[in-house]
Structures are given as C-alpha cells and as structure tokens.
Amino acid sequence: MISMTPRKHIPLSLTLLTPAIAIFLTLAVGAGIFGILGFSPLGSLYTFFVAPISRPDQIGDLFVKACPLIITATGLVFCFRANVWNIGAEGQLVFGAIFSGWVALSFPDWPAITLMPAMVIASIIGGICWAMIPALLKVRFNTNEILVSLMLTYVAALFIDWLVRGPWRDPMSFGFPLTKMYSDAGLIHRIDVPFVGGLGQLHWGVVGALLLATAGSFVLSRTILGFQIKVMGDAPRAGRFAGFKPHLVTIGVMAIAGGAAGLAGMVEVSASMGQLQPNVSFGYGFTAIIVAFLARLNPIGVIFAGLIVALAELGGDYAQIALGMPKVVTGVFKGILLFMLLAGETFNRYHITWRRPAVMPVSKEQ
C-alpha cells in the first residue's frame, strides 16, 4: 500500500532534480515505445534530440523554434498560477496573428518605426479579445473556461482559414490560400551576429521573448499583482479575506495569457512566414502548456523549458524526414513528459513510502 504524507519543507535540490528525472524517464519510455513500434530506440533518440543541434547554426534555429513557446508559456504561467485553466492559447495566438496581419496588410506604406509597434499592439489586443470571451463568461456565468477556450480554438482556426481563402487572399497567389506578403517594415529581421553573420534563422523576436520571460518573472515575484495571483491560486479563501477580487484576478491572468499568445502569433508570422496562411501555428498554444509545467510555473524556467521542448519539436521535423514518422510523434514525447512532470510534482510535495496493508488498521473505535 502506498502512503503519502505531505512534506513540510521541499528541499531545493528536489525542486531542480524532478524535471531532470522527468526528462530522463520520458526518453526511456519514449525509446521503449519506438522499440515496440519497430524503430531502433537509440537511433530514434539520436534523430530526435542530437541530430537537430549538431551544427552551430542549428542552435539559432532551436531558439527560433522556442520563441513562440517561450512567449506563450510566459503568459500561461500566470493563468495556471492563479488556477485558471486557459487551454485555448492556440486560438488566442491565431487571433493575434490575424489582428497584426490586418495592420500589416492595411498600412504597407508605414515605416517600420510606426508599423512594428502598431502590429505588436494589435496582436496583443487580438489575443486579449479572444481570451476575454472565456474569461468574461466564467466571471459572469461561471462557465467552464477549459471547454470554452478550447472550443474557441477550433473557431479561430476556421476563421483564419476563411480569411486567407476568402476576403484576404492575394489575387496574385495563383489560388493558394495566402495573403499578400507583408511590406519589409512589417517583417522581423534576422540577427547579424558580429564576425559570424546570421546564426541560422535567429531573429530579433527571440530577444523579445527572453526579455518578456524576464519581465514576467519580475511581475510574478516582485509586484502586488503577482502576489495576488499566487494567493488566489494557492489559497482562494485567504485571498478573499485579504480583499482580493477573484474575478479581477481571473480577468487579469486571462488578459496576460491572451496578450502573450497573441504576441507570439505576430512574431511567428512576421519572422518566419511574412504573410498569413491557414496554419500560422503548429500547436504552439498546446505545447506551451507543457512548457509552462516543465518550467514549474516559473517564467525564467520557461526559457529553459521552451528550449528543451523546442528540441523535441525540431526532432519531430527530423524524424519526419529521416525515419518517415508522422509529425504528431512529438506528441508522444510531449504527453509522456507532462505525465512525468506531474508525477514528479507528487513526489515533490509528498513523502511517499511503502507500507504493508496489515499495518494500517481502519480505526473504528472513534
């Protein structure tokens, strides 16, 4: 019989060790599954996690892949800390891309100095708007934010599909579902590293993502807003006694998460695509959930977690080419990783021991 007693004090070493053990177990279980399905276990792991970063320019690509994940997960950390389950970041990301795309396509003559800030603001507004639907419905009617935000993801995907196939399609695109290219001022440019030149696809949005995660860490640990969010998540009753407004916290964290996801959508399109297309996101909104958990809901941790998960994503692209596996296989790794992280959380919080069933009598004397 397993017996679980809450730990009074969680040692720091354990906090750092659990994600490492979770990653190790994920690799072991993943390799086992590949073995069962007839692939070489070690070869698969090599293709997934070593081949994608064996050249210096590929390090740049790793950061590029991590960029939308870091931005989105930073926002989600706020939601999950407050116990608000926004799992529709994918849709909020798409709406950020749509709003910023509207600005870029409507004002192609603006110089970068005005166009770029306008696009950033538009993307944040777009993400917030889409996140406000589940937030307001939860606050006003107590509807389930999980289901509403998820349903809106499907709606957002269909909406952008309609835009790029219908009203926003470039007449010169030969029937492809693409908008016009953004003007040069609407594009995020690659970083020129001194003496090296370009480092893969590394672009300025990555710098923004790192700054955003740092800012998120500051807000969460050093401001009254961050304190309110943590209290409402850990002890809502205590928060209410302290006079915090649960509804405001819910709306606040949804706005932060929606705005961040929207921004990620803008960065992804402006840096990597240059125009809107039916798929502006490849599940980044969902993958960011795992990133947030791997980071143990800590914005600085999000940077490292984003890089680790981005490696698995890149590995998925490689496996698709080298081993002919479908792209969704990364989902196997991502799912197992999330399982392992959650289990690690239990081992963190509780002291777990085996006891023989005989030693635990059901006390009936009381």
Binding site: M1, I2, S3, M4, T5, I33, L37, W85, I87, I133, L137, F141, N142, T143, N144, I146, L147, V148, L150, M151, L152, Y154, V155, L158, F159, D161, W162, R165, G166, F286, I289, I290, F293, M325, P326, K327, V328, V329, T330, G331, V332, F333, K334, G335, I336, L338, F339, L342, A343, E345, T346, F347, Y350, R355, M360, V362
Partner: protein, 303 residues
Amino acid sequence: MEALILTVLLTSVPLILAATGELVAERSGVLNLGVEGMMLMGAVSAFAATSILGNPYMGILAGAVAGAMTAAVFSLFALGLATNQVATGLALTIFGSGLSGLAGAPFVGGTVDGLPNLAIPLLVDIPVIGNLLFNHDIMAYLSVGFLVLVAWFLNRTRAGLVLRAVGNSHDSAHALGYRVLLVRLGAVSFGGMMAGLGGAYLPLVLTPHWSEGMTAGRGWIALALVVFASWIPSRILIGALLFGGITIMQLAGQARGWTVPSQMLSMLPYIATIIVLVVIARNRDFALANSPACLGRLFIGNK
C-alpha cells in the same frame, strides 16, 4: 428528409457513447479531460484491427480495449499518484493524439468495410419510424443500451449508490470503508472503454478510413455534453441529438447552396457548445444540483 434524420442519429452515436462513459467517471468524482485522446486511440485501434482481421466486430472490441487501456494510463497518474486531474487529462489527450498518429501512419489511405446494419425484425416494418429507429448497426443500439444501463446502475443499484457517494464525498465514503480509489479506477476504466467505442464508431461507420486527429474535437464536445446533461444520463441523449443536428446542418446547408462560407458552418458545433454551456451555467440550481461535489478534487488515501 429521412436520410437527413438518419445522418443526425449516426452523428450523435459517438457523442452518446463517449459522454455516457465520461458521465460515470465524473459521477465518481474524477474529471478526465483525456476523452479526445482516448477516442483517437479507440479509432485507430478499431481501424487497425478491422483492416488486419477483416472483421469490424473485432474492431469494436479493439476500440473498447484501447480506450480502457488509455484510461489506465490516466488512472496510474491521477489516481495512483494523485496528480492534478486537469493537467493529467490534457497530457492524456496530447499523448493519445501523438500515439494514435504514430500507430496509424501505416493505415493512412486505406479503407475498411464498415459495420453492417442489423434490422430488427417486425419493428423495422413500422411505418415512418421503423426504418429510422430499428435499422442500424450494432453500436447504435449499444449506445442507447449503455445509456439505459448506466441510468439504471446509478439510480437503482447499491453499487451505483456507492459510486455516487465516492463522487460526492470521498472522505465520508473512505470512512465508511469503501475503497475510493478502486471505485474510481472502475469508473475511469469504464469511461475509457466507452470513449474508445465512441472513437471506434468513426472509422467503422461514419467515415471508413483513418486520418490523424479524425475525432476533430468530438471528445471535447462529449465533455461539454456531460455538463449540458447536468450529470443526468437521459439528458445526454437530447444533447447528443442536438449536436448531431447542428453538425449535419453544415452538410444540409451546402447541399441547398447556402451562400454562407463553409468555414462558418463548420464553426456551428463549437459555437453551439459555448452557447449551451452559458445557458446551462446561468441556471445554477439546474446546473449544479447533480454535480458531484468532489469532482476533480484529489483523494490521498490513508492520510
């Protein structure tokens, strides 16, 4: 018109199956958000078994087993290690989508012979409704059968009472000597089996092929249906038919040459889900009267 009603009935079958299973799990106090993942595993297993063995009934079996086994992964973590149920359910959906895509890759592009219709003698000859109600495949009958069975089990049997007690107050049930985790393991496994069956219905009846993510959010709609039904089995039937009808509206709309873009029509089931959730949630007494009090709460045995 008859064809349209038949399509509505068929579309609602996977929703009835998955939602009935999830209802039992939730009544025992476990919120398993992995329905979409379990349905996908059921769908891919059913398709694989049918195309290898050539018998759709083996496909049904494979779907049920795959669903229950996927649910066992959830139980291992959420019940065995008391992990957060919301996050564990999400992990199950991500895992199930990935694994089903990997396992199903060799089967993309293939087709299978679907389940045959079994007309019930005599009843099928009733004018108007006979053909509509009594000329279906076995899983359509099963879905309604399971629904009736679950309603009877929950409300009329001692075991059902224990299950509801566990869902409403796991501490009291534990104090009375009931094995909380064992009851929940059973309920979650049943939910997984039903979701697997619901998934199996897609390649076996609705579209005779396998494609990645072919459930297209049906698992999430099934979760919404349980809320819609306010945890009462019979209401699932109404909800599922309603959603089936909305899903079919897009086909009917295209056939009649509506000028609305197809994407807008495809949005209808998702938007309808949101509207339904709001309407249900507005009336708190109605919405929460049967809501299990311990839904989603962690139970740490022998503390």
